[in-house]
Point group: C2
Chain length 348, copies 2
């Protein structure tokens, strides 16, 4: 098993260090190679993702990414040239983002409902396609377009994945989120595909909700959701909100999956590089650690994944949330838990 | 002063009835004419917005709209053919959506911060332009596009309006919300225009935030916002969330403004037609009543607007939130308050 590690910018290297610490406890046999990509490389060489690096990355079984982005780099350069380029080149069509309120964690909502949902976000098309342009740039007549491209091929594969996941979860519910009453073209494609695939999954209860009202329900009644399937941009927005209501972006993990397995999948915390707290050793590595669990699931090691999740659950239930300890203290605790009987016992 | 009233579907006529009751207390001289548009008309005649009606609507000083939409009408028909058609034909480029947590109202957040923000949502372009289409419809090769169109003309006028509003508010803060790191074309236009207009408003503090992290801050720290300026789709999403954190969509008012005053502006509650509770007399008319206050502000009657807001504030501070009373009971209370000394006194 070969793992490519891209620590990236800001707190990326800090949280990835802890994630690897935990990983090496449960799967010491995994070999990892670090790749230096991100703001520093761009500043010193102008490179974002050289072809040779992309070729090497393809030869791995998975990629673990910290975070990319730095205020010294103009907006969009690293995002489009590195992060989104990886997602698109490696055909990461299923962007998997679970949101679960762990016992012991107080979210911002006063009603402490059980929240355990997963957003299956399309990852390779929609408004992220990057098509669009500028006409008469920098003039009072400027026109800027952004074209959302949605294909039956692209929608169907992510919808199928979402149905399979819903089918394997206890509640078996799937909610399509879109804005079909305004984005009628893309909306009709998404609706048609969901309707068609639902015929193959009579065991899954399906409903539909507009993206705007979904934000209301995510704060008023988040327990109603089980699996949400949605497009790239709506998924981006809703998963930040879902992370917030389940205790914050410090706990939110994600997987960028090529479910065909033709390319390595990539795992990353949902949070960014957080330059304001970088280098201080205070970033919470939990999201990166949970991303490792998603990776192990994808690599066919569900027992190892559950062990990590159990350790995180134990730590979150017992930690002093005012004073959780620094980045490496949390990593040390989680590493100790996964290797201890306690970690294993809390699996039950 | 001539007012066109479009009660619309579902709870629309119920809440509009109460809004007019309150309006007639503060401004009995306003003449109003009702227009029958919405699901029922579409079912019986196939008409959405006949040219002759549009021409008559243009001859009014303002439009008050209840809600449009009904499950019996396919998604998008009434939205694109009636509601959005009105907003586009009447050039409602400033979609004004205040969100304020009134004393006495418990929102869903456990931290009861002061929230008093206003979203200035672009209303006539962006992803709502309706451009886009389908290729190879209903086949496995189908492609659906949605084109967001952003013009310097359109962005500048709404950004200018937002700066003026920020300048007139005590905190003088303006936040541009977009997704400039992904939607780089539209993002660069919005950023450039905000930067340019900010030079004319050195008194306004400006910042920028991505739409995904804005959802986090709206639940973690909503008091940070004063004026938010954003595009049509982001504004749609964020104003539902802002309404939720300030006590729900039953209180959220909006104005669709042509600030040039070439066309009548239109005022409507943010909520929809809520077919599930229609006809039961239980819908909260407060959002419709607050929309009347926005209308009076726009028509140059700020004192009358403040009187309505004061009545709403008084009612929200004193009402039994478990048992607020039915639609007409709330309307009666608000009507009594605006005409009473109490209503006037609470202005202070
Ligand atoms: C950094 C940015 C390009 C990215 C996205 O928009 O997908 C991030 O917000 C995320 O959710 O992973
Ligand atoms: C009904 C719909 C077309 C509308 C919109 O998307 O603008 C509504 O959600 C709103 O916010 O007024």
């Amino acid at each position: 098993m070969r793992l490519a590690v891209v620590p990236g910018d800001g707190i990326g290297p800090e949280v990835i260090g802890e994630a690897l610490k935990v990983l090496s406890e449960v799967a010491p046999q995994i070999e990892s190679t670090q790749y230096d990509l991100g703001a520093a490389r761009w500043h010193s060489t102008g490179e974002l993702l050289p072809e040779s690096v992309l070729t090497e990355l393809r030869e791995h079984d998975a990629i673990l990414l910290g975070a990319v982005g730095d205020p010294s780099v103009p907006s969009g350069i690293l995002e489009r040239g590195l992060l989104l380029r990886l997602r698109f080149e490696l055909d990461h069509h299923v962007n998997l983002r679970p949101a679960r309120l762990y016992p012991g964690v107080r979210g911002p909502l006063s009603a402490q409902a059980e929240i355990d949902l997963v957003v299956v976000r399309e990852g390779t098309e929609g408004p992220y396609a990057g098509t669009g342009g500028l006409l008469r740039k920098d003039t009072p007549q400027e026109i800027a377009t952004e074209v959302s491209i949605n294909t039956a091929f692209g929608v169907e594969r992510v919808v199928r994945d979402a149905f399979t996941r819903a089918s394997n979860r206890p509640r078996r519910k799937l909610t399509l989120v879109h804005k079909t009453n305004v984005l009628t073209h893309a909306g009709s494609l998404w609706s048609r595909v969901v309707e068609e695939v639902s015929l193959e999954h009579p065991e899954v209860a399906v409903d539909y909700q507009h993206v705007d009202s979904t934000t209301i329900h995510l704060v008023m009644d988040p327990s109603r959701y089980d699996v949400i399937v949605t497009d790239n941009l709506f998924g981006d927005i809703l998963t930040d909100l879902a992370a917030a209501v389940t205790g914050g972006i410090g706990l939110a993990a994600s997987g960028n999956l090529d479910v065909s397995r033709a390319n390595p999948s990539m795992f990353e915390p949902v949070h960014g590089s957080a330059p304001d707290i970088a280098g201080k050793g205070i970033a919470d590595p939990t999201a990166a650690v949970l991303s490792v669990a998603l990776m192990l699931d994808h690599l066919g090691e569900p027992e190892l994944a559950r062990r990590i999740e159990a350790a995180v659950a134990f730590d979150l239930a017992t930690r002093d949330h005012q004073n959780p300890g620094g980045t490496s203290a949390v990593g040390d605790r989680l590493a100790a838990l996964v290797s201890s009987a306690a970690g294993t016992r809390s699996l039950a």
